[in-house]
């Protein structure tokens, strides 16, 4: 592994997993202190379809958790305060956190707005032993953003992730090198990332409830039950993950998706939505000052059949209309109008952060569009994203 090659002296890696505590809710509380200590759910109007994006610890006491349908959340916790969510704000905080993490090590991988892995291998001289470094990181984040986080520290991403989860809320858990298997043993198998609704019942059928049970099986037995996946289970149960690598290259892709309130096969509405999502994505690209070489579509029908399609561009772009044009093309190639659509997503990847050649033949037009978008972004910064949109994404019936 490259990180080890750089530090041949260290016999194991030193990984931190940082997970913000109830991130969206905590940001809301910072912005509006009267919410503190109350059951708060971010996700939108519970009368409409949607899922919980985040819930405060008070709400979680009632069984509310993220990704739960909003109406279920309301049934469990009727007195909760439901918020639309201020995603721009969350991103601002996320960037601030990323900056702090970057002061620890250059190898930071943000896996989402509120979660990151840090490879601290070889940083002892800078920040002291891993545990001390983790402690000072938690304090720094609290001091500079006012937010709490939980940190797991160990020799692998896998164990650190489980450790941060165990440490929640606002805790720090250090798994001493060599004791990974021991640490994992008492935990139910479900706590292991990668073991979910499908694998858990199969393991239970074999009498395996905890990761410790899993550790008692030899690789051949696991392989006979699970094939290649069995080998993976064998290693994971011991806290080893050979494929993990911290990608410090910023975001690998940017995507926006939306679930329709009611499933639809209205082409007009679907295209309108794509246009809106394309603008969302375009704006994020411009915000980060990066350009994308690949545009992708995600299309989920009412029966949960999901299709993704990608197309490569001749020249990297951050222009809404170019993203839309390509995603619409993909949509036309993929969409079956006899089926109702549940979810649409637009995703850009192959993000170009290094130098790239710009195009000559449509340079004048590109320059004009870039100026236009710059102005649009300024308006949006002031009045919100929806203040200004491409006509394509407006609903003629509503306007």
């Amino acid at each position: 592994m490259p990180n080890e090659a750089l530090h041949p002296a260290s016999t194991f890696r030193q990984i931190l997993h940082v997970d913000m505590d109830a991130f969206y809710v905590s940001v809301e509380e910072l912005e509006n202190p009267s919410l503190r200590g109350k059951a708060v759910i971010v996700g939108g109007d519970p009368d409409r379809r949607g899922v919980v994006a985040a819930a405060s610890y008070e709400a979680r006491k009632f069984g509310v958790h993220s990704a739960q349908p909003l109406h279920t959340a309301r049934r469990l916790c009727p007195h909760a305060i439901f918020l639309q969510g201020h995603y721009e704000k969350y991103r601002e905080y996320s960037r601030a956190i990323y900056a702090i993490l970057g002061e620890m090590t250059p190898l930071v991988e943000m896996v989402s707005v509120d979660e990151a892995y840090l490879d601290m291998t070889g940083c002892e001289r800078l920040h002291g032993p891993l545990l001390a470094a983790a402690d000072s990181l938690v304090r720094k984040i609290k001091q500079r953003t006012g937010l709490n986080c939980s940190v797991g520290a160990s020799t692998s991403c896998l164990v650190s992730k489980i450790a941060s989860d165990q440490a929640k809320p606002h805790g720090l858990l250090y798994v001493v090198p060599g004791s990974e298997a021991q640490f994992l043993a008492p935990l139910p198998v479900r706590r292991m990332p990668g073991i979910g609704r499908v694998t858990e019942p199969r393991l239970r059928a074999l009498g395996i409830e905890t990761i410790g049970d899993l550790q008692r099986l030899n690789p051949e037995e696991l392989k006979s039950h699970f094939g290649r996946f069995g080998e993976w289970l064998y290693l994971r149960a011991r806290g080893k993950d050979l494929n993990e690598r911290i990608e410090a290259n910023g975001p690998q892709s940017i995507s926006h998706e939306t679930t329709f309130e009611t499933d639809t096969c209205d082409r007009e509405e679907l295209e309108r939505t794509l246009s809106y999502l394309a603008q969302r994505v375009g704006r994020r690209l411009r915000e980060h000052q990066i350009f994308a070489r690949t545009v992708g579509l995600k299309l989920r029908y009412a029966d949960f059949q999901t299709f993704t399609r990608d197309i490569s561009l001749r020249e990297p772009t951050n222009v809404d209309s170019v993203i839309y044009e390509h995603v619409r093309h993909l949509f036309h190639c993929t969409f079956n109008p006899q089926w109702k659509v549940r979810l649409l997503g637009v995703r850009v990847s192959k993000l170009e952060t290094t130098a790239f050649q710009t195009s000559l033949l449509d340079a004048a037009q590109t320059a004009k569009i870039s100026q236009l978008l710059k102005a649009a972004d300024q308006v949006r910064k002031r009045y919100g994203f929806d203040a200004l949109q491409m006509a394509r994404s407006l609903d003629p019936k509503k306007n």
Partner: protein, 373 residues
């Protein structure tokens, strides 16, 4: 029936070399890898084609028996090249074998019947006579900018614009554009004529012209689907490239008021040095301009970075701009006699224009889009 003739090695080799340039290199249609040999009264005619391009040429021969046959081009060329400069005797044997004898060497090459060789179109009435020297220079100064990307079909050739009093050639690959214009009387032309010449035809035409010297003029003609360039006793035939060439006039910058002038050799060498540590994939270098001074930077994640300072003439505001170094070197390599070159810029996102500080007989302009760095 059985063709038999003798030709001089030096005379034959030149023609074979040109013909082999046009013959098909892939082996999908075997007859296209062959060269058609036709012996008439006092002459040997050679023809080669890959169906996109075709060449007919020839050399003097002492013909004992007239006739025709085809021979694998690559093998024949290698054989003839290896022989001493003497008379080479050709004789067609049974089953299309051809015997090649020269002094004490003898070869028997497996040929194919001439009937399978595609018929080449005949040149219609000539439309214009183009001075060879002018076209050579134009191909040299624009040919490199033609796109090789097959998906950009209309950019796979250069635009040749013939007017009674001037010739213009433009090529672009979508990132840069090279344009050269020359005032010259074009004989036989009373109207404007626009054609797209495919990239390969440009290359072979250039070879043909450099073989024939700058002396003989090019007699140009065309029909519905072919272009004909005849130079002396040789004729190059190309399939036309159809489609709309981009509006090249629209991309020529008009507001590039920041002008830098530098010694051609100096700037070319500096770029070559700095390029050694440029990112290999993007080939990006960064130019930073200040009064009287140009700094060139490069950096590669893997190998390190490079930096060089040049004294130049520059009098505008400080600015910096990124370019693909290869695009700049391509221009500097063919710009011609002028000792100084000029770079005219607007800002870091707009196309820059490069040109010789003093125009020679041709007016040469090169427009390059910057890189985002």
């Amino acid at each position: 029936m059985n063709m038999e003739f003798t030709a001089r090695k030096s005379e034959l080799l030149k023609e074979l070399d040109l013909a082999q340039g046009v013959a098909e290199k892939k082996t999908t249609i075997p007859i296209l890898s062959n060269i058609l040999l036709e012996a008439t009264d006092s002459e040997l005619r050679l023809s080669a084609t890959d169906l996109e391009l075709a060449l007919r040429c020839g050399c003097p021969a002492r013909v004992k028996k007239t006739g025709a046959s085809t021979v694998p081009g690559k093998r024949l060329l290698e054989v003839v090249r290896s022989l001493p400069d003497a008379e080479i005797k050709f004789k067609v044997l049974e089953n299309h074998f051809i015997q090649v004898t020269c002094e004490r060497s003898s070869f028997k090459l497996a040929g194919m019947a001439k009937d399978n060789f595609p018929a080449l179109p005949e040149a219609p009435r000539e439309l214009a006579i183009i001075p060879a020297g002018v076209l050579t220079l134009m191909i040299q100064r624009t040919g490199f900018a033609i796109s090789s990307e097959e998906s950009r079909y209309t950019l796979n050739g250069a635009l040749l614009l013939l007017k009674p009093d001037r010739i213009l050639m433009v090529a672009t690959d979508g990132h840069r554009l090279a344009q050269v214009e020359r005032e010259v009387q074009v004989e036989g032309l009373d109207n404007e004529l626009r054609v797209l010449i495919p990239k390969r035809a440009m290359g072979e035409l250039y070879r043909l012209l450099s073989q024939g010297g700058d002396q003989s003029p090019i007699r140009f003609s065309k029909d519905e689907s072919h272009l004909f360039f005849s130079v002396g006793h040789r004729i190059l035939i190309s399939r036309v490239l159809t489609g709309q060439f981009p509006n090249y006039e629209a991309v020529i910058p008009r507001e590039n008021h920041r002008v830098m002038e530098a010694k051609k050799e100096q700037i070319a060498e500096a770029i070559r040095r700095v390029a050694l540590l440029a990112d290999e994939r993007s080939r990006a270098i960064r130019l930073q301009l200040a009064k009287g001074r140009l700094e060139i930077f490069s950096s590669s994640g893997e190998y390190g970075e490079a930096h060089e300072v040049l004294d130049v003439s520059y009098d505008s505001e400080d600015m910096q701009i990124g370019f693909n170094y290869q695009y700049l070197l391509d221009f500097l390599g063919v710009v011609g006699e002028s000792e100084n070159v000029r770079m005219e810029l607007k800002d870091e996102q707009s196309a820059g224009q490069l040109r010789p500080a003093e125009d020679d007989a041709c007016r040469y302009r090169y427009v390059v889009m910057p890189m985002r760095v």
